[in-house]
């Protein structure tokens, strides 16, 4: 066990998840190829990777839905194979696809889950009302879930996942396909869950999302972890992204290229927009310095932006290949 990776600095809390050498194949596809994962208890752990990287498969194994071909995993100390029922008593899983009965109303779904978890009918009813209120679904509570919007459906999914407050919550791409407003709502719910003490493990295809939410990130490619660390460390290892500048006058452009090349020490590219320049930059400090140099040379930019590296750039930097979708194991899983 790599204890250095397992514990957050300064606290001796137990591990939420400890997975070693997980392998899972579906026919020809090797969805997981020796995946190791160490998730400390508390906080948000982001699992980042393109479609087909094995994120969903990993989550399904950890949530006891799928037995691994080899390797082992423990959730809060309980083995997912030998002690699956104890694991189920601590976790909840909200999948990529709606995990409620769409023929039932939101309220009925929550009452059903409450009863399955051991509440008496009247308590389950009370609990359902409470959860609908917390997730802003009170008005929609008595409509069939199939008539919900994407954002409402996702919130109902999450409500279904917290009928009993879980110790570990798995969220599989919780914001995929959501509009920005709904995405922010989901992010807030995640933050509240964490504040209350739940460990959240979420998969995402968006570096931005992992950066916003996660305390630590594992980057997965072809069923293996290829990088692990805090978002800051990860981004620093990749470079902070792209500096994009628009000069005020196209005539200044070549002078600007000279100044920026010198200040940044990287190649500066001309865009099709006659005023625009872009450069891949390693760190933001250097970009700020370059902007200063540009202004000192009398070419105050009309616009500038420092974009985060995209997932593609992260992959390119970490693996040397772009984050293309592998044959889709996520759908098969």
């Amino acid at each position: 066990m790599r204890t250095d990776a397992g514990k957050r600095p300064g606290d001796g809390r137990q591990l939420a998840i400890e997975a070693r050498g997980l392998v899972k194949t579906f026919g020809e596809t090797r969805a997981l190829d020796g995946l190791d994962l160490t998730v400390p208890a508390g906080g948000v752990y982001g699992v980042l990777g393109p479609n087909g990287a094995g994120k969903t498969t990993a989550l399904r194994i950890l949530a006891t839905l799928l037995p691994p071909d080899s390797g082992s995993a423990r959730v809060l100390g309980h083995d997912v194979s030998a002690d699956a029922d104890a694991v189920r008593g601590k976790i909840s899983l909200t999948g990529q696809f709606t995990s409620v009965d769409e023929e039932l109303t939101g309220r009925e779904n929550l009452i059903l889950l409450g009863r399955l978890l051991g509440y008496r009918h009247t308590d389950a009813k009370l609990r359902a009302g409470q959860l609908l209120k917390a997730l802003g679904l009170t008005d929609a509570g008595d409509r069939q879930a199939k008539h919900y919007s994407g954002g409402m459906r996702r919130r109902l999914d999450i409500a279904a996942g917290i009928v009993v407050t879980p110790s570990v919550m798995f969220l599989d791409e919780p914001t995929t396909g959501l509009d920005p407003r709904s995405r922010n709502q989901v992010w807030n719910i995640v933050r509240t869950l964490v504040a209350r003490g739940t460990t959240v493990v979420l998969t995402t295809q968006y570096l931005d999302e992992a950066d916003q939410l996660a305390d630590r990130i594992a980057v997965i490619d072809h069923g293996r972890v290829i990088a692990e660390g805090t978002p800051g460390a990860l981004k620093a290892s990749v470079g902070s992204g792209t500096l994009r500048i628009r000069v005020q006058d196209p005539a200044q452009r070549f002078d600007a290229v000279r100044v920026l090349t010198e200040a940044l020490d990287v190649e500066v590219q001309l865009e099709s927009d006659p005023c625009a320049l872009t450069a891949r930059v390693d760190d933001s400090e250097r970009s700020v310095h370059a902007l200063g140099e540009l202004m000192r040379a009398g070419m105050t930019p009309a616009e500038f932006a420092l974009g985060q590296p995209s997932l593609d750039e992260v992959f390119l930097a970490l693996t040397g290949h772009p984050a293309e979708s592998a044959p889709d194991d996520e759908a098969a899983a």
Binding site: G10, F26, G42, G43, V44, R60, A63, L65, L66, P67, D85, R88, G89, I91, S92, L93, G95, F97, T98, S99, V100, D101, E102, E103, L104, E108, L112, L113, R115, L116, L117, G118, D123, R127, Q130, L131, K133, A134, L135, Q144, A160, I162, V163, V164, T165, N184, W187, N188, I189, V190, R191, T192, V194, A195, R196, T198, Q212, A214, D215, A332
Partner: protein, 284 residues
């Protein structure tokens, strides 16, 4: 801030207090027992009927159509013009046929669940796993009962008389429901393996149609060629029909006949029950 709360919790937006209260109240109750969990799945099945009452059609109108069709369309030809006599012979058979045809819906329902995320939700709960299968089967027991009542009521209106009396009829329906419950485990397995409602329907029909027709449901096996008569005599559906006919007509059944049906039911349950649960545990 405190050192206790991870950075992810304090960044940006304020904490939502409704949410926090809901999370605080989310203490885990005592674990639901197997019976309670099965009842909750039954509750789900009932809610689904409430939302789409059309599901009831196959247990109300279908028996009526079968009954009218066979009595008046084929009854005369099959029974020398005496539709009344044919009804007397045919009703117990069509009762068995109708109920056994309804058993296949459970497979269709499960395969449609398995395609969606709701199955993952159930499978990730700390509950007695067979309840997710037994609940829907209990709901089906209601459907079998309802179909039986409809069939017998329509039969009475058309002139059918059960000489076996109320006791005979109730016993016959009980035997039929027990057999149907056990047979259903074949369809739950098919439903979990096939993963497509259409495929499940096709397979179920392919099995059930020949078995119900090549039986003593519709005609006396003595009228058939020898090889077919031999098949009919070992067809478990014929055995069920024999028992149901014997109980409803008052002619009675032998211990051997009843024992055979119960043994066949037990065999179905013991074979397909564990296979279904194994598939349920290990499905992707």
């Amino acid at each position: 801030m405190t050192t206790d709360v991870p950075a992810s919790a304090t960044r940006e937006e304020p904490i939502d207090y409704d949410m926090l209260a809901a999370l605080d109240a989310g203490e885990r109750p005592g674990r639901a027992g197997g019976f309670s969990a099965s009842m909750s799945h039954l509750y789900r099945a009932m809610l689904r009927v409430k939302h789409s009452p059309a599901q009831i059609i196959d247990v109300t109108l279908f028996p009526l159509i079968m009954l009218l069709m066979f009595t008046f369309l084929f009854g005369g030809a099959l029974s020398d013009g005496d539709t009344g006599a044919y009804l007397q012979f045919f009703l117990p058979g069509v009762l068995v046929n109708t109920v056994l045809m309804i058993t296949m819906y459970v497979g269709m329902g499960l395969s449609s669940d398995a395609e969606k995320g709701v199955f993952d939700r159930f499978r990730s709960l700390p509950m007695w796993r067979p309840s997710a299968i037994i609940g829907p089967l209990l709901a089906d027991a209601f459907r079998y009962t309802m179909a039986s009542i409809m069939m017998l009521t329509f039969g009475l209106i058309l002139g059918y008389r059960a000489e076996g009396g109320v006791v005979g009829v109730v016993l016959a329906v009980l035997v039929l429901i027990v057999f149907a419950f056990c047979l259903s485990w074949l369809w739950t397995l098919v439903g979990l393996v096939m993963r497509s409602e259409k495929a499940v329907t096709a397979v179920s029909m392919m099995v059930l149609m020949p078995l119900t027709f090549a039986s003593n449901v519709y005609v006396n096996p003595a009228t058939m060629p020898g090889w077919l008569e031999a098949f009919v005599s070992v067809n478990p559906i014929s055995h069920v029909v024999t028992v149901v006919r014997g109980l409803t007509s008052g002619a009675g059944v032998t211990t051997g006949q009843l024992g055979l049906v119960l043994a066949e039911a037990a065999a179905l349950l013991l074979l397909f029950g564990p296979l279904t649960m194994r598939k349920y545990r290990t499905m992707n």
